[in-house]
Symmetry: C5
Subunit: 255 residues, 5 copies
Amino acid sequence: MDIATLVGAVAGLLMITVAIYIGGGAGAFLNVPSMLITVGGTVCATLVHFPLAEVLRIVSVVKRTFAVNIPPPQQVIRDMAEFARAARRDGVLALEDTLSRVDDDFLAKGLQLVIDGTESEQLREIMLIELNSVQRRNKMGSSILSFMGEAAPAFGMIGTLIGLVQMLRKLDDPSMIGAGMATALITTFYGALMANLFFIPLAGKLNTRAKEEDTVRQMMIEGLTGIQSGVNPGVLEDRLMSFLTPGTREVATKT
Amino acid sequence: MDIATLVGAVAGLLMITVAIYIGGGAGAFLNVPSMLITVGGTVCATLVHFPLAEVLRIVSVVKRTFAVNIPPPQQVIRDMAEFARAARRDGVLALEDTLSRVDDDFLAKGLQLVIDGTESEQLREIMLIELNSVQRRNKMGSSILSFMGEAAPAFGMIGTLIGLVQMLRKLDDPSMIGAGMATALITTFYGALMANLFFIPLAGKLNTRAKEEDTVRQMMIEGLTGIQSGVNPGVLEDRLMSFLTPGTREVATKT
Amino acid sequence: MDIATLVGAVAGLLMITVAIYIGGGAGAFLNVPSMLITVGGTVCATLVHFPLAEVLRIVSVVKRTFAVNIPPPQQVIRDMAEFARAARRDGVLALEDTLSRVDDDFLAKGLQLVIDGTESEQLREIMLIELNSVQRRNKMGSSILSFMGEAAPAFGMIGTLIGLVQMLRKLDDPSMIGAGMATALITTFYGALMANLFFIPLAGKLNTRAKEEDTVRQMMIEGLTGIQSGVNPGVLEDRLMSFLTPGTREVATKT
Amino acid sequence: MDIATLVGAVAGLLMITVAIYIGGGAGAFLNVPSMLITVGGTVCATLVHFPLAEVLRIVSVVKRTFAVNIPPPQQVIRDMAEFARAARRDGVLALEDTLSRVDDDFLAKGLQLVIDGTESEQLREIMLIELNSVQRRNKMGSSILSFMGEAAPAFGMIGTLIGLVQMLRKLDDPSMIGAGMATALITTFYGALMANLFFIPLAGKLNTRAKEEDTVRQMMIEGLTGIQSGVNPGVLEDRLMSFLTPGTREVATKT
Amino acid sequence: MDIATLVGAVAGLLMITVAIYIGGGAGAFLNVPSMLITVGGTVCATLVHFPLAEVLRIVSVVKRTFAVNIPPPQQVIRDMAEFARAARRDGVLALEDTLSRVDDDFLAKGLQLVIDGTESEQLREIMLIELNSVQRRNKMGSSILSFMGEAAPAFGMIGTLIGLVQMLRKLDDPSMIGAGMATALITTFYGALMANLFFIPLAGKLNTRAKEEDTVRQMMIEGLTGIQSGVNPGVLEDRLMSFLTPGTREVATKT
């Protein structure tokens, strides 16, 4: 669970809401047609821009990289060494017990392949295919969020233009000017808020997570092939350590 | 048929239209001179920017990559293997029957060359020339759409400036102020909508499609030269598989 | 003659003019002081930014690449082959007759050098110097136009700020407000129009032309040194063909 | 102490404050809800964008690179030569006295390792890990500040939109229009000031400092391993000199 | 003397001034507090962004590259050949007479080293250190000017926001609205003018000059080491010629 993402998003929304309540007229800030234009326009433009399958996957990609626990590198090293020790002592079939306690789908799939006795080269290739599609999904997800971060303010402005034109046609009723203009500005507000509190920062964090996940997944692949070919647990631990750059190695130790 | 492009564009337009109807005064949003300035200005600037031949081709390039079915890689592999089997069994002349059932112009041209007995190196060269001009057209199309995505809001703003100046000269008739300003804003609305719902996302999808098409076309060239030189269908299938990155290989299997 | 450039620029201006006339008050759009600020400011900033000699050359660079006919590659190949045949049959002195019919300065200079019996290596070096300075001029021209495309809207805004400040000082005469504001906006209109209809697209086309010219000039240099060293016309034709990428080769054939 | 950073920031704030006092109504510029939206929104978006640990470290990273004295390269060379001489004369244990006078944590840690008799290769590796994590922290710090420089004006605008909508709902009380609009604009003012006087320039200086620190730290590592392996002090000095590019070498001499 | 820079800057200012006088109310455009905010804010942000020493040097860097005569390459070649001839005829000591007539500091320093009999390798190294620090200064100068080109409009906008807020607090005195708003806009005007007429174009020209100076300085270094080691003047001239790209060689000949 990346607590910062959640705290940031929720606290941001809360703060804006409080600021709105303090100023009064909070009702004016909830406007369904305005939301329709901004959200709907952004989603439609995203559909025109990206392949359908990728757009449909975006919710799960975002959730997958923010809520799901990618195990920290240090724990992966510890787990791998433990698996290696168990496999050496009792054979790879002994990993079957461990399998049930593994939460991570990627690791579970790999362990299953080891237990099934898949040979080393094939095991690596299958896992790399899996990793590759994870990477592609992360990268595509970040591209989509970045694009939405550009599209949302644009459709916010389009909504405001629509509202302004409609308001200006009814200038003869002065009491409506203020309300009309206020409503017109709501879409720009929606667009700016969505882009700057959600889409742009989420795209940024997705990139950071993708880099972390990539390292962890490659460590898992290295570990699994090592276990499968019966490498000494201590040697395996050293080999996995070398995946960490000095900086992350230190961070890993501290965590 | 890329359904997302169509759905996105149509749903986007519809949503905007509905939002306009809900707000009332929909008539104000259809303004021929405003459309003239925004669309006309964008087209003129595009003519100044790009060679005439490329601009004329843009409609067909857009249509070609969005509506036309580029066969999915997996099907290309299957087809190629089938052609190879037919050619091995009954000779390349037997492909004549198949030819009539091939929709894809690129593939049809290649098959015809195989049937005509064009030798391997020349076949590859002719098809690469064809592919090269397809790639160039896709890339140029994407550049043109990107440029239009920048020009449209600019000419929208130019139209609004014209409208504002005209409105400001007639300030003595207050009843005209609102209507004048509303009309002035319409061009900015047109420019923003065209750029953000069509030009920019279409340029993005054109890039994605171009990458997909490139892979498929290269697989076809590899397949056709293989068929022409009598490669074993199984070997050919393996060779074509290697064109797919692990990720797309998996996707291809899923499709 | 690049007809698209001319048509785009003229049609764009015409369309804007028509739109202005339809709206009325066309007189307001011709304002000498406003033009002074926008055009003058842009030119002055360009002088500060670029070396004087390059700025002075810009008109001729623009004209040179848009109005002058760079011969199409296919014609260059044909001409070169013809020159080679003539030179082989009657000696290089026989090219003297041809020289008078050659419009292109670059080619004419090269032919003169061949007729004068300049030796192969020196001929190539002299022509490369010529080509290099053509390339540098094209690139610098494109940089200058791009910069002007950024400066023009900036000085348009500066002019509008001046106009607004002056208008705001005279708020006590309400009848002047509209007219003052209208005049103020004219400079922004000029800047946006100049940048988006002329400077930015012209810089783009200059780049396309520069690439085309580069290929044609290099073909000429290859051709001239070939003629000078008595290469077989057919061989020469093949050698020049290889300058074309497959795509342009096809285009060349189609033209 | 980087005096320019402090002077620039303080003088900038002072100048703005003076300008505000001259114009009057200074009270209007201190608005807690406005600050809440701009600062709070920026911080929340930063939390969504970057890992929590990095965001928490930002204050110390900024302070560390601006207030702490990274010793100038020339002094590092002098110190290292002196340490080398002391170590040669009285053995590495004699450095214990020096250690107490060393302010720089990085250098102190390295010296301690030398005194402890850590062997050359291990010493270098430990210090490189340390350096690597310093570099990563500096780079991440600069990324975070850059992002805040983009987020602050965006949340400023969001705050202004909120204020405008609230003001527009109460148009019937004309005496409130001015005050409402003034309050609305305060957030944009906060966002622009924070971004342009602090976040963007601080990110820039952090980059410059990071480059300087990197050179100095690498000189220290080279020096310490040299001392540990008993290199001649004169040779060491020359070796450290070569770390400086000619330009900085001159600057170092002048300092 | 780069006449274009001076003419562009002066003519630009003049043109703006004339345009202001024609429109009237020129007094409003000279506003000390507004200038304080825009210039002061920009300078303060620059101090936060760049090291103090570099910011202090900016005036001299700008002056040095715009007003000082970097000798044209062709003249450097001529001078160097002449020096080489004099040194060959009468020994390097004979250059002492020439030294007094050399304006360029860089060249003078080099000649002095030659006269002092500095050996070839050391001479080159000393001069390269000098050149390196010139390059670094030019590059840093261009970075600083570019940053100021971004900061000036930002602080212009900050000033306008301050002015607007102050004006809006005093809406009850309608006669002050216009004047207040006019004053508020002045800072944006200052920022835009400074950035677009000075900072951005000056950064551009600094880059061009830096490239020219680099070539000339490297020719001088090559020439001086040649003279010092008694190279034949003709050979030296050829060697220096090769520093020029074909394009500049032609330009050099034309100058």
